[in-house]
């Protein structure tokens, strides 16, 4: 065996390895530091470690590196995707500080951070995979610890119910996904993405069945519509910080990985998977929106909103072009900031008062003007109202789909944007217009939570206006060959 490979592994797998080092460091901090010290600084340490990992290793370079005979591929675009995920995770960590240091969770808080870092590690593997074995290991590493995180509130609430629903759905869909891979293996005799694309004959029935099975497996993680039934229950019952993590990071990573699988493995048959996705997108956007209208619980409401957002994200995959790839990464970046702003407000209010109903938010502006303002900006950005980042991300993703010729699809998506405007504004109306005798009392947000919210709001306001972000991503995605 060639020993010179080892130094290359360190060089090319830096994000993964540094993240593992950070996880182990966190473990030792959890073990040896005094509880009083950890009360104050644990979240801070976790955030700083992750920021250091990002700064050291997740800045996109310019070259494409492969390891383990092509099983692991590191391109500038995958590194940028990892950076996006890291930013989101740091925000989630900031927001979870108040909850994780509460009386019920304090003992187990180390596990929360470590499990979260492990899922992030799995997502890295998924994104960088060039072989279905690595992809599958990454997928499972990313989804199994989340089941434990969803069931994290051991004592009370519906956490256990959510955990069971998530786990059984995840395992079921991963079994179907595995069946798809085994068919692919039977067709092509290899599990490398590139080899499959080269050898598989696209038009056999077995190939289409395998493709459908694989889309099912990943569609579950993305909560596309026929596979979305777990979403609302898991979001409602899980701890809010975990829900936020699920709705942005887990979904974003699945979208990133999905794009590589489809673009590389199934490049011989784009019309087949585009046909499947066409139907899925229409169903996802429409049903997500229609169900969101009737929700009274804000976490369920955001669950359905995130289902329909997944439909919009998939538009970038449909486009199957460099522009679509750019628009997708940009959309997820903006979506991270907007959705986390909403979840940050919900987490703060739920932690202090335990209220998550939409009616509880009536008259919130009177008592908590800053929180309501952050929530309003988040809703505007999610709905895509012009000066905010959400508008630009929607614009770019529609433009990419139009450029690939999907006029009807984009028209349906546009109609759905109008529906979504209605229910997003319902929340704003509740906070600003609806009268309430006894609104939620004035809440003082902790230092960490406030930082997280300020960063999110800044992202919502500035990401759309700073065109350099989109230009940068666009430059990266041009390096990917189509």
């Amino acid at each position: 065996m060639d020993l010179s490979q080892y130094s290359l592994i360190w060089e090319y797998m830096q994000p993964e390895l540094l993240l593992l080092v950070a996880t182990i460091l966190l473990f030792f901090v959890d073990l040896f530091a005094s509880p009083r010290f950890l009360d104050k600084w644990f979240s801070g340490i976790a955030c700083v470690l992750l920021a250091v990992v990002t700064a050291l290793s997740c800045i996109p370079g310019s070259e494409t590196n492969t390891l383990f005979a092509g099983m692991f591929i590191n391109t500038p675009m995958t590194t940028a995707m990892k950076m996006v995920l890291n930013i989101g995770t740091i925000l989630v960590l900031l927001q979870s500080h108040a909850w994780i240091n509460s009386e019920a969770c304090r003992v187990r808080r180390g596990e929360f951070y470590e499990l979260m870092f492990f899922t992030l590690f799995g997502m890295y593997l998924m994104i960088s995979a060039g072989h279905f074995l690595i992809f599958f290991i990454g997928l499972e590493t990313a989804s199994l610890p989340i089941a434990a995180l969803v069931a994290f509130n051991k004592q009370g609430g519906k956490s256990y119910e959510s955990g069971a629903k998530y786990l059984f759905n995840a395992v079921f869909s991963s079994a179907i996904f595995l069946m798809g891979i085994s068919f692919i293996y039977g067709i092509s005799g290899s599990l490398y993405f590139d080899d499959i694309a080269a050898t598989a004959s696209a038009n056999t029935a077995l190939f289409v069945v395998a493709l459908a099975f694989i889309i099912t497996g990943i569609g579950f993680k993305l909560s596309l519509v026929p596979f979305h039934l777990w979403t609302a229950d898991v979001y409602q019952g899980g701890p809010t910080a975990v829900t936020a993590y699920l709705s942005v990071i887990s979904k974003g990573a699945a979208a990133f990985a999905f794009i590589w699988v489809l673009f590389k493995t199934f490049s011989p048959a784009p019309e087949v998977w585009q046909g499947i996705l066409y139907v899925l997108i229409i169903l996802t956007i429409t049903l997500g929106n229609l169900f969101a209208i009737r929700q009274k619980d804000l976490k369920r409401f955001l669950a359905f909103s995130s289902i329909s957002q997944a439909g919009y994200i998939m538009l970038g995959v449909m486009a199957y072009s460099a522009q679509g790839l750019t628009a997708l990464v940009y959309y997820i970046l903006v979506y991270i900031f907007s959705n986390l702003a909403a979840f940050g407000v919900i987490a703060t209010i739920e932690h202090k008062t335990g209220k998550v109903g939409m009616d509880d938010y009536n008259g919130l502006y009177k008592t908590n003007p800053k929180l309501s303002l952050a929530m309003m900006l988040a809703m505007f950005s999610l709905a895509g109202i012009p000066p905010f980042a959400g508008f630009f991300s929607k614009f770019f993703i529609f433009a990419s789909a139009v450029n690939s010729g999907y006029y009807v699809l984009v028209f349906i998506a546009l109609l759905n944007t109008i529906i979504s405007l209605y229910y997003y504004l319902l929340v704003v109306k509740a906070m600003f217009i609806n009268a309430n005798e006894n609104p939620i009392e004035t809440i003082k947000t902790g230092c960490y939570g406030r930082t997280g919210l300020v960063v999110c709001v800044a992202g919502i306001l500035l990401l759309g206006l700073a065109s350099c972000v989109y230009g940068y991503l666009s430059g990266l995605s041009l390096t990917v060959g189509f």
């Binding site: 279905f132 074995l133 599958f136 290991i137 499972e140 199994l144 089941a147 434990a148 069931a151 051991k154 519906k158 256990y160 119910e161 959510s162 955990g163 069971a164 629903k165 786990l167 059984f168 395992v171 079921f172 991963s174 079994a175 179907i176 595995l178 069946m179 891979i181 085994s182 068919f183 293996y185 039977g186 005799g189 290899s190 599990l191 609302a232 229950d233 409602q236 019952g237 169900f291």
Partner: protein
């Protein structure tokens, strides 16, 4: 005389869809878990058979099924942990009783 490949494939597909059927119809969560195990094992058989009959020169399918078995074990461990947690709360493991949240 060697058994033809099609027998193995039929066996694995029957196992797989028996698992799907069991997962949907069973109410007891342990039985649901067993059904999922059936599905995962069917996939392992598929990999081994494809490797043995179609691509005998290499080991990719075998290796994949070993990894799949290991990961299935991890899944079971987490599932059992969650099921025990549920049993502590509601004193049974009937999936029908997990209906606090709907629609």
């Amino acid at each position: 005389m060697e058994t033809p490949m099609i027998y193995y494939i039929v066996l694995s597909l029957v196992m797989f869809f028996a698992g799907v059927y069991g997962f949907i119809t069973r109410k007891n969560m342990l039985m649901m878990l067993i059904s999922i195990e059936l599905m995962l094992n069917a996939v392992d058989i598929n990999f081994a058979v494809f490797n043995r009959f179609l691509f005998p020169g290499q080991m990719e399918g075998m290796i994949f099924s070993i990894f799949a078995i290991a990961i299935a074990a991890a899944e079971t461990a987490i599932a059992i942990a969650i099921i025990i947690n549920i049993y502590r709360h509601i004193s049974n493991i009937d999936a029908d009783n997990l209906d606090d949240m709907k629609y």
